[in-house]
């Protein structure tokens, strides 16, 4: 059975483009498309999506708040942020709010489908800058919820190593690295409250208004 996907994006052309790309994979069904979070949340019970592709800068309720609300109502739903800049502070805040990964809006067809596959199967990609913010977020708490292996993976990413390099150094497969990243995302959302957002506020990743 195909996974159910909802797309929330205010730009109609991008929204339809994403829908076409996702449908073309044959593995996913786009069950609904919305231009704002409010409509998407009101239709959540009947849509019952497995994955939500969410824009951050939406009119009305922001993608960040939308992520929090959807995760509250559908904890098993994976929310993937679609963004122009993958290193923005808003992306990190969305991850803290419970998003399971992010996709750059300009990604090609294969990348989009792969990112959704990865988000469902293992960890979605994590960039160096996001990894650094995540490291700081966990450093703030006295009891880090990360396992020793997860910490090693996170540190590797924050040092700029590729997944292959990390996998080679830790004698594991790339899929295992991705699986650790998924756990890191999940623990970040549980662990981070206002503290993590404060850290992001002190950084200057791209623009603060994003």
């Amino acid at each position: 059975m195909n996974s159910r996907i909802t797309i929330i994006e205010d730009n109609e052309k991008i929204r339809e483009g994403f829908a076409a790309v996702v449908e073309s994979s044959g593995r996913y069904d786009v069950v609904s498309q919305y231009s704002n979070c409010e409509d998407a949340i009101s239709h959540l019970p009947e849509d019952s999506p497995d994955v939500v592709l969410m824009d951050i800068g939406l009119p009305g309720m922001s993608g960040l708040e939308g992520t929090t609300r959807i995760k509250k109502r559908l904890p098993g739903c994976i929310i993937i942020i679609i963004t122009v800049m993958e290193d923005s502070e808003k992306v990190f805040q969305s991850l803290c709010a419970g998003a399971g990964g992010y996709i750059v809006k300009n990604s090609n067809v294969e990348e989009i489908v792969r990112s959704i596959d990865e988000a469902l199967a293992g960890g979605a990609p994590m960039s160096l800058q996001i990894a650094k913010m995540v490291v700081q977020s966990f450093n703030r708490s006295n009891d880090s919820p990360l396992s020793a292996r997860e910490t090693e993976v996170l540190q590797g990413i924050a040092q700029g190593k590729s997944y292959t390099k990390i996998a080679t150094e830790l004698f594991v497969s790339k899929d295992t690295v991705r699986s650790h990243i998924k756990n890191i995302y999940q623990k970040l959302a549980v662990n981070s409250k206002s503290e993590a957002l404060k850290i992001a506020g002190n950084k200057k990743w791209i623009n603060k208004q994003w």
């Binding site: 052309k13 483009g17 090609n108 040092q159 623009n207």
Partner: protein
């Protein structure tokens, strides 16, 4: 030159080579005066000692010694009032001995008393005028000593009565003390006014620069926001629509390359806009920040392939200097090209990005365990050619080397202040 060195040596540490310090002038004048004093006066002392004028020579040696004390007191304690008081006592002792030997109130050496007033006011701009009173006291004392010694009866017929001579000396002291003291006061007051005006102008300039910087930041952020809201979304929309078209046109080999070209162009524009925005929004002249950006790019890029990528810098933060702001964008283009070439041509399985310093330059290098396609006259390697041209145009030193089954591309960038970094250009 030597005087400058000595003066700086005796200046308190906080004022050394710091002409902007509020008390720099005051200490500078004092030190430069007292540096010359001891050797000159010492020569007088030796001569007078050889002539049997022991008391006078002792006063002179004491004066010279106290001058040295003043210099070291200034150097270590930024203080000179107490030793200066001692010096005044020795000066008066010296002057009085001279005068008592040569005719008291009628002595030509009375000129020393007036010279002392001039020197006092010139050396101590703030309190030097007070020597007027001590001088008056000395003159009156000399007058009474002259009477006591009965000199008035000997010289009054030819040189005038002692009251007349006393009056002249006192009036001269009061007149010169008042005039010179007032002159110093006016000069100090003007100096303060000029300094206040300079401070005010600096403050206005500071405020203007601050305001301009804030405006520039706002413009930068607005540009970045515009890109995000409009250009970025529009480019994404083009890519998305072209991607849809590509799916629908599968099998149409005439049109498909055009669609793919649209997607490629849109992606290239998107990527270069991202680099441009980073350059605009970050401290792109910071060598370490640029290195991190390149590392981030390399990591994301090589994650698409089975290639081990890592980075390392063998340089301390304090060794890093500022790059020209235009250098960063050119380096990003160069290393993106190099990273792509590694995947396309070298068949490498391991890649490392590194940064280190050498005098005047910061060196960025990409090392892989593959072999790059050799350049030849018949088959030109466009990637390498582009890198070479861009390096040449921007005054970077470019080197490609192979060793131990490894290939190393190295770009050495001059940092700001080395004098040969003024030719950065966009292509």
């Amino acid at each position: 030159m030597l005087n400058d060195k000595l003066t700086n040596y005796f200046l308190p540490a906080s004022m050394r080579y710091n002409k902007a310090h509020a008390r720099y002038d005051e200490f500078h004048v004092l030190i430069s005066s007292f540096i010359l004093g001891p050797p000159i006066m010492g020569a007088f002392g030796i001569f007078l000692l050889s002539q049997g004028k022991s008391l006078l020579s002792y006063f002179i040696f004491a004066w010279s010694f106290t001058s040295l004390v003043i210099l070291f007191s200034i150097k270590y304690f930024s203080h000179y009032r107490i030793p200066m008081g001692m010096l005044a006592i020795f000066s008066y002792g010296m002057t009085y001995t001279f005068i008592s030997d040569t005719g008291m109130i009628y002595s030509p050496s009375m000129t020393f008393v007036h010279m002392y007033l001039l020197a006092g006011i010139w050396t101590d701009k703030k309190w030097g005028w007070m020597f007027t009173f001590s001088n008056l006291a000395l003159i009156v004392y000399i007058y009474y000593q002259s009477i006591a010694l009965g000199l008035d009866s000997r010289y009054s017929a030819t040189l005038g009565s002692p009251v007349y001579v006393l009056g002249l000396h006192m009036l001269f002291t009061i007149a010169s003390g008042t005039l010179l003291g007032y002159e110093q006061y006016v000069q100090e007051s003007n100096r303060r006014k000029i300094k206040d005006m300079q401070d005010q102008q600096i403050h206005v300039l500071d405020e203007t620069v601050k305001k301009r910087t804030e405006q520039l930041n706002t413009i930068r952020q607005a540009m970045a926001a515009d890109f995000h809201d409009y250009t970025g979304n529009m480019l994404s929309a083009i890519t998305r629509q072209a991607s849809m078209l590509k799916v629908q046109l599968q099998g149409n080999l005439d049109v498909l390359p055009v669609v793919e070209s649209i997607i490629q162009n849109s992606n290239d524009l998107y990527a270069s806009s991202k680099d441009f925005l980073w350059n605009l929004n970050h401290d792109s002249d910071d060598a370490a920040e640029l290195f991190e950006y390149l590392t981030g790019y390399g990591q994301a890029f090589y994650n698409q392939f089975d290639i081990s990528f890592s980075s390392g810098k063998s340089v301390d933060q304090h060794q890093l200097h500022q790059l020209d702001p235009f250098a960063a964008l050119n380096l990003i283009f160069i290393f993106k090209e190099a990273m792509t070439n590694v995947v396309k041509h070298s068949a490498a399985s391991e890649v490392e990005l590194s940064m280190n310093c050498r005098p005047g330059r910061i060196v960025y290098a990409l090392i892989d365990n593959g072999r790059w396609k050799q350049e030849s006259s018949t088959t030109q390697h466009y990637g390498l050619e582009n890198i070479r041209k861009r390096s040449l145009k921007n005054n970077f030193e470019f080197a490609l080397s192979t060793y131990d089954f490894r290939t190393r591309i190295e770009v050495a960038v001059p940092y700001v202040g080395t004098g040969d970094n003024n030719s950065y250009m966009y292509e």
